[in-house]
Amino acid sequence: MKRMRSIVMVVVLLALVLVGGWWLRGGKTPPVSQAASKVDAATLRDPALIARGEYLAAVGDCASCHTEQGGARYAGGRVLATPFGNIPAPNITPDPATGLGDWSFEDFWQALHSGKGRHGELLYPAFSYTSFTKVSHDDALAIFAYLQSLAPVHQPAKPLGLGFPYNVRNSLKAWRALYFQEGVYQPDPSQSETWNRGAYLVQGLGHCNECHAPRDSFGGTQNSPSLAGGQIPAQDWYAPDLSTKANGGLAGWSEQDIVDLLKNGQSVRGTAFGPMAEVVANSTQHMHEDDLRAIATYLQSLPPRPLLAEDKSPLDTTPILAQGAKVYAARCADCHGDNGEGVAGIYPPLSGNSSVNEPTGINAMRAVLLGGFSPLTAGNPRPYSMPPFAQQLNDREVAAVVTYIRQSWSNKASPILERDVIKYRHTPVD
């Protein structure tokens, strides 16, 4: 028996050594020099390719992460907060010392498609290569040509704000095994060309699922239905479900509603705010009409969602609803209407609004606290705005009015408590 136990011990130890070796083995590979690249310099200077790359970089919203507040475009420095620590976006202008100046297309492809840096080091999936892996070779080449055509900006990378064990890049091996599937988008022959274009944009460059899906405790999205909505970790916004079918976050949205929101920042059914306002301003408003229609076609094919269990909390909401109704009449009804109907083209309806009814209530709470302008787009260059109520309403009043809005007219979402408002009142805005 003793002998049996020692054999088991040896086997376990051997396994640990093997796993540890695999774990720590640096997957280092030398970069491909520009001279050795299969893509020659003249190709990268093709103005048509660069122009296409500029468009695709806008579709991918690269600038949003790779530009610091007030900083040079694409020179990096914006810090993405995650539950694991802070990850600064790198400089992707063609500066040789601090940007992509020495990179070949092969290096770029390895990053975008395989999630590996120039020396084969594993990249943190804050860079959404889980989606970008679906981008075609030709599109990646165009984006690279565009980035290489930018004026180089010398801006060294900020230090990585990750602690142990997340600062050990090889720990990503396990993460990748669980959540990362490498491969360019494969068209579905049973679907139309438009649908496939939409799926390619949404799943690939658009990287919509990076926010619009729940993340598990390891930060992966692989195991949930795609685009089913989720709370954005560390930023405390809720990216709603995007299904337009029964019980979907966008239930009843027409193709035109989706196109309007992406093009102008608002549709008759809702207005983009928070992080999506930035996506509209920097990315989707610049997209061609046919690409927006393709995205809408694809989103409209998402399946219906299961009916959420009705709220059965023992909380008696009668007094809070009465208080909420008073606050609503005094502060909200002038713009959003007595019945939460909004004003077409100006103020969004609150009845049936996906951001009002999302499961957490975070969006409605923060919209009330922060207010703000509708996205500024070519189609809406002087947007109307909503007052911030953080200074005027206390936590109880915010909870009351948000609960009232979430449970009035067609809305049947869960109530909001004072303690929820306390939690989100001071969430940093970036």
């Binding site: 009804a333 922060l370 302008f373 953080a390 200074q391 940093p428």
Partner: protein
């Protein structure tokens, strides 16, 4: 001929259908007008996000000094502040969030709206300071302190201290709390602007007691009859200031 008249007939039908449709259209518009809120298409309505705190006419909250007055401040100055919040040079989360997407044109329009507002100035609460401190304040405002390279406030902000168009704000008629906290935030770098940031340099040359003295003297000063900013070119700034562009070179 027959075909032509048939076509004409068809055209007439189309026209009458159009007219009918148009009438129906206007009829529904009229019917709808009773229920949803009617929203005026004015800049004032559009910028509810600003006026909620700063007041419909940019009057601010003079009793506390917390939300600054915007009314009557030079438009170039106001537009610059919006841009500085957008770029993170001025730090205040709610302002940074509110202005993050605005275009330069829209920020200019908003700045001009507040700049054009005529709002009477009111007195704000002030701390009691000694006569020496107030004298020191007056000395700094009108003559500066050459030994510490502090220019007089009036050298840039105008002989009447009501500011100079389009970029230099007035200093009189502002609450003590507001002035002292701005000078403090230049020192803590929660307020900065494009380089060379001359106000940051000056604020860092002031001592803590200087800041109280200057703020108190300015806040307590009798207001001139004309509170409007002086015309452009009224001053020759003694320092290079990024916010004044080339105009800062006239040392």
């Amino acid at each position: 001929m027959k075909r032509l008249s048939a076509k004409l007939c068809q055209a007439r039908r189309v026209v009458s259908a159009c007219i009918l449709f148009f009438l129906m259209g206007t009829a529904t518009v009229h019917a709808d007008e009773t229920s949803p809120p009617r929203i005026p298409d004015t800049i004032q309505q559009r910028i509810a996000a600003c006026t909620a705190c700063h007041g419909v006419h940019g009057e601010g909250t003079p009793e506390s000094g917390f939300f600054p007055r915007l009314a009557g401040k030079p438009a170039g100055y106001l537009a610059r502040q919006l841009k500085d919040f957008q770029d993170g040079l001025r730090k205040y989360g709610p302002m940074e969030y509110t202005v993050r997407q605005l275009s330069p044109e829209y920020m200019q329009e908003i700045a001009e709206y507040f700049s054009a507002q005529e709002v009477p100035y009111t007195r704000s609460p002030m701390p009691r300071l000694s006569a020496e401190a107030l004298a020191r304040g007056e000395q700094l405002v009108t003559h500066g302190d050459p030994s510490r390279q502090i220019p007089p406030c009036a050298a840039c902000h105008g002989s009447q201290l009501t500011g100079v168009k389009p970029d230099i704000p007035g200093l009189v008629g502002l609450p003590y709390d507001y002035i002292s906290s701005q000078l403090g935030s230049w020192r803590t770098k929660t307020r900065s602007t494009v380089a060379p940031d001359c106000m940051s340099e000056i604020a860092n040359r002031l001592s803590a007691s200087d800041i109280s003295a200057v703020s108190a003297w300015l806040a307590g000063r009798e207001l001139p009859a004309d509170m409007h900013a002086q015309p452009a070119g009224s001053v020759t700034p003694p320092l290079h200031c990024g916010v004044l562009g080339d105009k800062g070179d006239g040392a």
